[in-house]
């Protein structure tokens, strides 16, 4: 067991991989390639190579520690096989007991964000104030400045966006990894046609 690892230590990329794994085990959030390159004072391309080595070593089924690419960076997590043991020892304060209202609000902010509370209320048909406050308190959304009235955000209301923590919880590399809305559910064209049909029938 020992000999291949000794060999690895003599390889510079693997020494860099050791430094990177050290950084990842103490970091409090996913680290981007740029952050890793700055901390190691090394080249981003070499960082990518080191991450490749680590990704192979710390992968599902092979190790209890798993390297994942999430929220614009890299982070360690527990293997899925250890989920039961983790659930017995740890809490899930961020996602515990999220309501249906919270799911809808998160969806709106993730897809349309940044958006304000009036905009969310308009789409959901119910005031979003307490849900927005609860999501902000959990750290899943955060204030993103004020909108301009001409941008459709009434009265320059505070607008919200999802946070890197949101991406982490939902295992997204970035918001771009959200599925396209068109791919979700069926086409909305039928709905529109039917309504127009009903309306013209009544008008005539």
């Amino acid at each position: 067991m020992d000999s291949p690892l000794r060999l690895i230590v003599s390889d510079p990329v693997d020494r860099l991989a050791q430094t990177v794994e050290a950084l990842l085990v103490v970091a409090s959030a996913p680290l981007s390639v740029v952050e890793l390159a700055d901390a190691t004072e090394d080249d981003p391309v070499r960082i990518e190579t080191a991450l490749g080595v680590l990704g192979e070593r710390y992968r599902e089924g092979r190790s209890g520690i798993v390297l994942e690419q999430v929220a614009g960076g890299y982070a360690f997590r527990a293997s899925r096989a250890a989920a039961g043991a983790c659930a017995r020892l740890f809490e899930r304060p961020v996602e515990r007991g999220l309501s249906q209202a919270a799911h809808e609000t998160l969806a709106i902010v993730a897809y349309l964000g940044p958006c304000s509370r009036p905009e969310i209320a308009r789409i959901r048909g119910v005031s979003a104030d307490s849900t927005v406050a609860s999501l902000a308190e959990r750290g899943l959304i955060a204030e993103a400045g004020r909108g301009h009235p001409e941008q459709g955000s009434p009265g320059g209301a505070i607008r919200y966006r999802t946070t890197p923590l949101f991406e982490r919880v939902f295992a997204l590399e970035s918001l771009a990894a959200l599925p396209r809305l068109d791919d979700l559910g069926e086409s909305t064209e039928e709905l529109r046609d039917r309504l127009v049909e009903v309306a013209s029938a009544r008008a005539s």
């Binding site: 970091a27 982070a75 899925r80 989920a83 295992a171 008008a203």
Partner: protein, 248 residues
């Protein structure tokens, strides 16, 4: 029907109490999920063997009133705008909004499923137990700032002059006479309409005069609701009315 138990985001309790709160404006109609109320009602209906037509009728009236209140609350500016639309345009607009709403429902469903699927990913939030401590480093400082800080604490604060804040208060008696004169001509008047056009200070003094007259028992005051106009009337007038009401 009115004892229908509800469990909504904004409200938990019987339907009757919800209506009371809405009427007292303690709860915003826009906070209320009307669809959830209808669902609760239908569930309740399904539990019964017979359909109570009276209860259903009452519910229909109440829920449509609530829906209208909510619609007005949600789209205060758009009510007029939408009224002007042709049926086709209105349907187009409605379809657009429904489509948007439906897409968001689908997205919310994806969010929920994803959360369930990723529930077996555990990770640490925050630094590891043996992470290096964050060092707060301070640039070199000037020791003279310390002496200055102490000098500031050791000096007496300057006497603040309030002269520039002098206000002109009209005499209370001016309003006492004015209100007595009004009541000599009319049996009652609205305080608010009597003081329009006066400065804030004058309005405050006028209010003091009103309290003086009330204390002396010369006038009676009434107000339909908080912030409603204050109705001022002659004291005996009010007493006669009260006596009549009680004896009737």
């Amino acid at each position: 029907m009115r004892e229908l138990e509800l469990d909504l985001d904004a409200f938990e309790g019987p339907f009757d109490l919800l209506l009371t709160l809405l009427l007292k404006e303690a709860l915003e109609p826009r906070e209320v999920d009307v669809a959830a109320i209808v669902l609760s009602f239908l569930e309740r209906l399904a539990e019964r063997d017979e359909i109570d037509l009276d209860a259903c009728g009452e519910f229909l009236v109440l829920i449509s009133a609530l829906l209208e209140l909510k619609a007005r609350g949600l789209f205060p500016d758009e009510a007029a705008e939408l009224e002007a639309l042709e049926p086709e345009e209105a349907a187009e607009e409605l379809a657009r909004r429904l489509a948007e709403y439906r897409r968001m429902k689908d997205a919310a469903a994806w969010i929920r499923e994803r959360l369930a699927a990723e529930g077996d990913r555990w990770y640490r939030l925050g630094p590891s137990p043996l992470a290096p401590r964050l060092e707060r480093r301070l640039a070199p400082q000037d020791a003279n700032a310390l002496g200055d800080a102490l000098r500031g604490l050791a000096s007496y604060p300057p006497n603040v002059s309030l002269e520039h804040m002098a206000l002109r208060f009209p005499p209370v008696s001016q309003f006492l006479e004015r209100f007595r004169a009004v009541l000599a001509r009319r049996r009652r008047f609205d305080f608010d309409s009597e003081i329009t056009g006066l400065s804030r200070v004058e309005q405050a003094v006028a209010f003091l005069a009103l309290l003086e007259l009330r204390k002396a028992g010369e006038i009676a005051l009434s107000q339909a609701a908080p912030f409603a106009p204050i109705r001022v009337s002659k004291a005996d007038e009010e007493r006669t009315l009260a006596w009549t009401a009680r004896s009737a």
